[in-house]
């Protein structure tokens, strides 16, 4: 550790400050388009904000950078990072408002490279500060809830309404809610199915070591098939199945749509959960299991109230991996008519409308992040009771 009286340049702070400054100088802060499709006109922060405001923003960002560079106290660093987030968000919202003529719904003001780089920099600074603070699981969930509350309030208030992403949202509001629900449903549904199947497989692998290599090997092979290829492979048999069994088709099991996507996600989910179940069960102390059996617990009692409970944190870690992975991979479902936020992503790519892509991508990232924070907190909360 560096002694406090001998302040030293913080390496992460130096990197982030340099990146942020370079982005502000060389990249546009916003991109102005007279309509949705024409190529944009890049503008820097100084060009879009009134001088007094841009000077204020730049000084506050400098203050954040100074804190990132020289301050060791994690609380101060976190506050500085939050200040940075607010300044960057405020600046982009104000720029969008300033560039949009009143009543005009055709011009588009998109966040530019500098905005995204700055957002990543202050985001990393905040994450680093939170990591240094080592908050307990409950506090981390509280941080997350606060973040969403503030972001939600700003969105509801219309702060960002003139930004192009929100323009796309305004056009697609009805579909957005539906696709968001579909996205969450596909991710959670495939996870749930995978848990129901993978837990028993994991237990069998633990009890019968002879089967372990074969089962884990097979699941490993599935894991190496690329997502789109797996969906493609599944389309033919599921299509044939639907043709042969009409009531399955009525349930929505067809070669295209949600079914192949859910099946693919389910197959991908198996390996992490099975592997973690095996590792988790193996980690349970042999003497505890021997004592449990020796005191007259039935096999089921030993499994449920000793082995699975003690393995739970490790199993949940596997579930966390799967959930975050699924939230990302559900995106592919949109390619075969499975719906979800990927619909916006692929539509946006088709129309070269990057804002529409972002309308799909930003919530996906937020969902994955939320899932990761919540499950990490749960794992840690459970892990605290044991040595």
């Amino acid at each position: 550790m560096t002694p406090a009286r001998q302040p030293r340049l913080d390496p992460l702070g130096a990197l982030l400050s340099a990146a942020g400054a370079a982005a502000l100088i060389f990249l546009p802060f916003v991109v102005f388009k007279t309509n949705r499709i024409v190529p944009g006109d890049p503008r820097t922060l100084l060009e879009v904000l009134p001088t007094s405001l841009s000077v204020a923003c730049l000084s506050l960002l400098t203050l954040t950078a100074l804190a990132a560079l020289w301050v060791a106290n994690a609380r101060v660093r976190l506050l500085a990072a939050l200040l940075g987030v607010i300044v960057v968000a405020f600046a982009v919202a104000t720029a969008a408002n300033a560039l949009t003529p009143p009543g005009n719904k055709v011009v588009r003001v998109a966040a530019g490279g500098a905005f995204w780089v700055l957002l990543v920099c202050v985001g990393l600074l905040a994450t680093d500060a939170i990591t240094r603070l080592r908050p307990g699981p409950a506090l981390r969930v509280l941080f997350l809830a606060l973040f969403f509350a503030v972001a939600g309030l700003a969105l509801a208030h219309g702060t960002f309404d003139h930004l192009s992403v929100m323009r796309e949202y305004a056009v697609n509001a009805g579909r957005f809610a539906h696709e968001l629900r579909q996205h969450v449903w596909l991710a959670l549904g495939s996870l749930l199915a995978a848990v129901i199947v993978a837990l028993p497989i994991g237990i069998v692998c633990h009890r019968l070591p002879r089967l372990r290599a074969g089962i884990l090997g097979t699941l490993n092979v599935i894991q190496t098939i690329p997502a789109i290829a797996l969906v493609g492979i599944l389309m033919a048999p599921l299509g044939a199945l639907a043709a042969a069994v009409p009531w399955l088709a009525q349930l929505g099991i067809r070669g295209i749509g949600a079914a192949p996507a859910v099946v693919a996600l389910f197959l991908y989910s198996l390996l992490p959960i099975v592997a973690n179940t095996v590792v988790g069960l193996k980690r349970v102390s042999y003497t505890a299991v021997d004592a449990a059996r020796g005191m007259g617990m039935t096999n089921t009692q030993v499994l449920v109230s000793i082995e699975l409970i003690l393995a739970l944190p490790v199993i949940l870690t596997g579930i966390r991996v799967v959930l975050v992975q699924n939230i990302g991979m559900v995106t592919v479902a949109a390619l075969i008519g499975g719906g979800g936020l990927g619909t916006f992503v692929f539509q946006g790519i088709g129309q070269t409308a990057i804002d529409l892509v972002l309308l799909g991508a930003i919530p996906i990232v937020a969902l994955a992040f939320t899932a990761a924070v919540l499950l990490d907190a749960l794992v840690e909360a459970l892990d605290r009771v044991r040595p």
Partner: protein
């Protein structure tokens, strides 16, 4: 009373336990001793059917242990093991309550029993009932492990190297506590160890095993004076066997009528300790004091030495 009849455990062609027969008296401590791989743990684990015998049978008070489901049998038999095997996710109180809860005792009875056992094992219920095992010291964990094994008032307690993980001072204390507890609850205890000193210290009877066979099963003194097999002498040790023999008799048992001008020794002290004391002081005899503090006779060096011969 536990009757072991021609008990055998085979894994493939090798017999880990080979036709062992023995009778374990009620209210006694029987120690099974042997080197690793001798089959001593397997023999113990066949009593509560953690290992199912290949042939032979075990009777407890005349009843074949194979006549009921294994988990029900085990709830009637205490089980304590090396490394305590406490459940890390359950508090000390919950750990101790394991078997009573399996037996569906009334919750008030469970609570009372947990409190009683914590006190017996010198753990203050207010301090220790709600803590988790990892917050205890090794000796405390071991005591909770034994308390848990005794929770449902079993008539039989099986212990598999219960003190293997403890340092010598805590182990000596734990052994003393076990003798107290055996006297207090009258439990029939079967204990497995590889430590012959522990076997001599605790065992009313000692069974010596090697290669799956029971070589000798008798009182410790007989193991010393009439070993049935060279392996038994090797296990008991030859160089200090006279001293070991002396340590099996207390001053109270050896006391002869009459007084002595020498030092006083407690009736519970063993003759090895008394002899050491007399040699140290250069005295020829000692007065023996009973538990009430009154003189109950005397011992002489000559009488002690006579008892150190087979």
């Amino acid at each position: 009373m536990i009757t072991v009849e021609k008990l055998t455990k085979k894994y493939g062609a090798t017999s880990v336990v080979d036709e062992v027969s023995m009778v374990i008296e009620r209210n006694s401590i029987t120690v099974i001793v042997g080197s690793s791989g001798s089959g001593k743990s397997t023999l113990l684990r066949m009593i509560n059917r953690l290992v199912e015998p290949s042939s032979g049978r075990v009777l407890i008070d005349g009843k074949d242990t194979a006549s009921e489901p294994a988990h029900l049998l085990r709830r009637r038999i205490g089980y304590a093991i090396q490394g305590h095997g406490l459940f890390p996710h359950r508090t000390v109180a919950e750990n101790i309550a394991t078997v009573p809860r399996l037996l569906k005792w009334e919750e008030s009875r469970v609570r009372a029993r947990v409190e009683e056992l914590l006190k017996v094992f010198q753990l203050d219920p207010h301090t220790y009932a709600q803590v988790f095992p990892h917050q205890l010291s090794g000796g405390q964990q071991q005591r909770v492990g034994v308390a848990r094994a005794l929770a449902a008032e079993p008539a039989v307690l099986l212990m598999d190297e219960p003190y293997g993980a403890l340092d010598p001072i805590i182990r000596a204390k734990a052994q003393e506590d076990l003798l107290d507890i055996q006297r207090r609850f009258g439990t029939t205890i079967v204990l497995v160890t590889h430590d012959m000193d522990e076997a001599f210290r605790l065992g009313d009877r000692v069974a010596v095993m090697s290669g799956g066979k029971l070589l000798q099963y008798d009182r410790p003194a007989v193991l010393l004076t009439r070993p049935a097999d060279p392996f038994v002498s090797r296990m008991t040790g030859v160089s200090d066997r006279a001293m070991k023999l002396l340590s099996l008799t207390t001053a109270g048992e050896a006391a002869m009528p009459g007084g002595s001008d020498g030092p006083t020794v407690a009736a519970s002290a063993n003759l090895r300790e008394v002899l050491s004391e007399l040699v140290w002081r250069g005295e020829g005899s000692a007065a023996v004091l009973g538990e009430d503090g009154a003189a109950c006779g005397h011992v002489t060096v000559d009488a002690i030495l006579a008892r150190g011969r087979p």
